[in-house]
Amino acid sequence: MLTARVFDIHRGTTHDGPGLRTTVFFKGCPLACRWCQNPEGIGFGPQLQWHARKCIGCYSCEAACDRGAISHESGPPIVNRELCDMCGACVAACPAKATTLSGTEYTVDQLIGAVMKDRKFFETFEGGVTASGGEPTSQAAFVYEFFKGLKAAGIHTALDTCGLTAGASLERLLPLTDCVLFDLKFIDSGMHRDHTGQPNAAILANLARVVEFARANRGLALWIRTPLIPGASASAENVSAIGRFIRSDVLDVLDRWELCAFNSLCREKYQKLNLAWEYEGVGLLSHAAAEDLLGAAREYVPADMVAVTGILAE
């Protein structure tokens, strides 16, 4: 049976495509963006998470682990991730749900059942379902069946992609997709590699595939999303470069360009995985800085098509 590993389902989202939506977060991503907001979505397998705020220090997890991967001294339980085989025994034993595994297996029918719960809201809000991640196309065969089921039920579909995937799997998904949310982080490939671990040539090639498809199939909406990361992508040069590229290669099929302001609200996710995060202390973008970047973007793209989203500092 075809299954997928999903690390979260957000209902009632208004930020991942048109209208009100349910966003499914698929596990696994080929990029390693230094600012990643979903660190629990990068790996393809399940990941053990430990939530300090919920832990009551009963050490039920330690008792349940037959590999000796959990121990403690006087404080909280310590997980030896080398020894852990993600069996989930500690998760079942934890009374406080402080220990969890990121990544739940779903069959296509189960996942469709889960997202259909908000169908009545999709109808009023002209929304639907967004496949996000991680990188949803890393489980492309599943997403294909998932979208096929949703389209058969008349549900609007959106694909939120980082763009790095096999061209063929992307092309297979496009006919079942109503809206593509395509991340464009840097035009400079060196910068792209420095901040995400990968160059951007394959990503731009995939964007060209989407653009070509959209030219032939005017029903496909295309949103470009650029994260505004302080000290990285949030520069006038970068936004202008992306703007120039959009104007020359994408504009005729573009519906919206979103500049997504960074926030560090996800820092707890890193703590749950015992991971250090270089962006932990990075503050919000200021209104003024966002205005400047918006201005830069509007040099190239009509003003009503580009917007800043997310929280800004005073």
Binding site: L20, P95, A307
Partner: protein, 762 residues
């Protein structure tokens, strides 16, 4: 942190005149100066709706008033303007001088004296006048006999209580058509009829009623005199004209029926004053239906503009200080009833903002532009005004309970979560309470004693205990109903009801109006649901703990039993659209419905449960102690049928879906309370449009009411610590079914309110 949207922003669209601005400042200053507060005696009143002390809400002054250390402030929720001193003529009240008798005649004598010795006040800038400083229960002793108290205390032990006072909805159309003179004639005609029948008790009641109407006519006339006196002394020509206008209007409506829109608004304000003065208020119906004929006549005649009408309704709002009026809904033919006054009424609120209790009754055929405007007003003002209500569910619920189609079509949202067949019922709305946690606690003790080993047997014990509480509630209410018309008749309300004058019996008596159900707020449903589900799973299925162990742990508020608490807490919780626990919600709600709707009061009507209780959850927590859902004693209970604080983690749509699983058309209300943070909307979205679509979806699938705040959590948290900061003085929140200034609320309410703000981000 900032967003594109600032809550409680100044209204846009309609500029108030400088005269209206001055009236608004006065009205808001009265609120903010703690001069419009409503008090209750104690926390028991909030939890059981019965204090064991006074017979209703806490009288602000007088022999039955409690000190500030005892009574609890519900916030600015009152049109009574406190002047800081007790009623000056208490000692001369007829019942004090000549003796208190529990009769309508004795009550009416007191009422007439009280009104005759209440000042007729006219303030500068006002077109619409009428305000009061004392209620009759501050001057006349208002207490039920001891036998009622005996039953009340016994009932409280079982987890219920209640009062009977006001909280209905008169049909002001009766008075607007007849005027006070016409009402006097109607009373006299019916009295003559009953004299012919030899029905002495009915004649006696209508004699008393006549005294009440005559006192009101004198009171309205004194406003005309006062305005004329001020006009004579006034040198400013504009103000002089205004006083003259007030004098002419009050003179005209002292006995005559109002002839113009302006006089109709004035008539409504003075009716509200002379009625509310008897102790507490009512809903006052569908303002757009009441005023539309006046509006059309006057605009056609060229004597009234839309701006004039908007300004007059704004004055009415400011003068009363938060009105329970409703708009839209359907007409007798069940067609959309939205009309020009529906628009003007909302525009009037839009112009002045602040706290108010008006409601818009949605239905699928409502003028979409009007409903969009209503949602736009909610979003821009951020104060939860207007409340959004589903007309079709209100009507369906009345029909389900046995109201006639003729009574049910004219349903009006009338108070927090309740609604009335206008002029056709007296049903104790929002005044009785059954705390469902109590029977569950008894069931646990019995199940331990009897060694019960499976959930279905435990459930049977629970239903028997709910039944026991309900039976005691019926006995108590019936005793109250026996005494009510004698102890505290509601003679002003009775004048604008269909039935009381025709029957010669007070609205509190029977037979009098067509419908006299007993409405019961059920408190703690989500906690009982979560508890029952956890008990079923952990105790009876997994057999991880016994009921006795659970009981011991709750007795010590989970001290040393954190593992057990976490296990109970981490079961499925109501409010997340989870089928298992939501089925328990339906089962618990349907069980209390089944229990109550098979009980009859002495008036011959059934008990109707409401899945709502306005503020009892805050204080009920510590009173109930810890509960099996993992709740600690110090935490509040859940608010109405909303998920327990912090337990709905799957988003606003999931919570809405959970609530909708109950068929609200069989209950007497149950509102979805949503506190959205502005951060929920990060620039892309239009808040008004979001609210419009969300509420429309919720109501199209059976939701009955949405109370919605758009409020900045950080700001509220700071406002608790620094209530005196000037920037916090104007924050208005929809506390429950009513709105009030946040900084005026009781501290426990403030903390509870902040703890339920969720849906921060998606």
């Amino acid at each position: 942190m900032s967003t594109a949207f600032a809550p409680n922003s100044r209204p846009q669209g309609f500029a108030a005149s400088s005269r209206l601005d001055r009236l608004a400042v006065r009205s808001h200053d009265l609120s903010k100066g703690n001069r419009r507060n409503v008090y209750v005696d104690n926390r028991e009143f909030l939890v059981y709706h019965w204090s064991g002390k006074s017979s209703a809400f806490s009288p602000a002054t007088g022999e039955q008033a409690l000190g500030d250390d005892e009574r609890i402030n519900l916030g600015d929720h009152n049109c009574r303007v406190d002047v800081g001193v007790p009623y000056p003529y208490v000692a001369e009240m007829p019942s004090k001088r000549d003796g208190l008798e529990l009769t309508a005649a004795n009550w009416a004598k007191d009422y007439a004296f009280f009104l005759d010795h209440s000042p007729a006040e006219v303030y500068p800038d006002e077109t619409i006048v009428g305000e009061f400083h004392w209620q009759l229960d501050e001057a006349r002793f208002y207490k039920f006999p001891d036998e009622v108290y005996g039953l009340g205390f016994a009932l409280r032990e079982l987890g219920a209580g209640g009062i009977s006072l006001a909280h209905t909805c008169p049909d002001l159309g009766i008075g607007l058509t007849l005027g006070w003179g016409g009402l006097l004639e109607k009373v006299r005609e019916n009295r003559a009829r009953f004299e012919g029948y030899g029905a002495a008790d009915r004649v006696e009641y209508l004699d008393a009623s006549e005294q009440v109407v005559l006192a009101i006519i004198r009171y309205v006339g004194r406003h005309a005199d006062r305005a004329a006196e001020l006009a004579a002394a006034e040198t400013d020509p504009d103000q002089k004209r205004l006083y003259e206008k007030v004098a002419a209007n009050c003179a005209a409506i002292a006995t005559g029926a109002p002839a113009t829109f302006e006089q109709a608004v004035q008539w409504i304000q003075l009716f509200q004053v002379v009625e509310r003065i008897n102790g507490h208020g009512n809903g006052y119906g569908r303002l757009d239906q009441l005023l539309i004929d006046f509006y059309r006549r006057d605009t056609a005649a060229g004597v009234l503009t839309r701006e004039d009408a908007r300004s007059l309704i704004a004055e009415l709002f400011l003068k009363y200080g938060g009105n329970y009026f409703s708009f839209a809904g359907r007409n007798r033919e069940l067609k959309d009833a939205t009309n020009e006054v529906s628009w003007v009424g909302l525009e009037a609120y839009d112009m002045i903002g602040g706290y108010n209790h008006i409601g818009v009754m949605w239905h699928p055929e409502i003028d979409p532009a009007y409903y969009a405007y209503a949602c736009d007003v909610v979003s821009r003002h951020g104060c939860g005004v207007p409340t959004l209500i589903n007309y079709d569910v209100l009507r369906a619920s009345e029909l389900y309970s046995g109201y006639s189609e003729e009574d049910a079509w004219n349903v009006s949202y009338s108070g927090c979560q309740w609604y009335c067949a206008v002029g056709n019922e007296y049903s104790d709305h929002d005044l009785n309470c059954l705390v469902l946690v109590k029977p569950m606690q008894r069931a646990i003790d019995i199940a331990i004693r009897d060694g019960i080993q499976n959930f279905e047997s435990f459930w049977r014990v629970y239903t028997e205990e709910v039944e026991k509480t309900a039976v005691a509630l019926v006995a108590f209410k019936n005793k109250v109903y026996e005494w009510h018309p004698k102890v505290w008749p509601e003679m002003v309300t009775s004048l604008c009801m269909h039935g009381p004058i025709e029957h010669g019996r007070d609205v509190t008596d029977s037979p009098s109006v067509n419908n006299a159900f007993t409405s019961v707020n059920v408190l703690g449903v989500p906690n009982v649901v979560d508890s029952m589900f956890a008990i079923k799973k952990v105790v009876f299925e997994d057999r991880r703990f016994t009921l006795a162990q659970l009981r011991e742990a709750m007795d010590v508020n989970w001290q040393g039993q954190e593992v057990m608490r976490q296990v109970m807490l981490n079961q499925e919780k109501f409010g997340n659209d989870l089928d298992g626990v939501d089925a328990m919600y339906v089962r618990v709600a349907d069980q209390v419905l089944d229990t109550l709707e098979h009980k009859r009061n002495i008036k011959g009507f059934t008990f109707r449960p409401s899945l709502f209780q306005y503020m009892g959850h805050t204080y009920a927590g510590p009173m109930m102690g810890a509960t099996p859902d993992g709740r600690r004693a110090e935490e509040p209970l859940a608010h109405g049928c909303n998920p327990m604080h912090g337990r709905n983690t799957a988003g606003i749509t999931a919570t809405a879906n959970s609530l909708m699983k109950v068929d609200f058309s069989r209950f007497q209300g149950g509102s979805l309370q949503i506190e959205l943070q502005p951060r929920f909307f990060d620039g892309k979205d239009n808040i008004g449009s979001f609210i419009e679509k969300f509420s429309r979806t919720y109501m199209a699938h059976g939701g009955v009411q949405i109370n919605l705040n758009v409020i900045d959590l950080a700001q509220l948290q700071d406002a608790i610590v620094h209530p005196d900061k000037p920037e916090y003085q104007d924050i208005v929140v929809k506390v429950t079914g009513y709105s009030a200034h946040f900084v005026l609320l009781d501290r426990e309410f403030q903390k509870e309110f902040v703890s339920r703000v969720n849906y921060a981000e998606v």
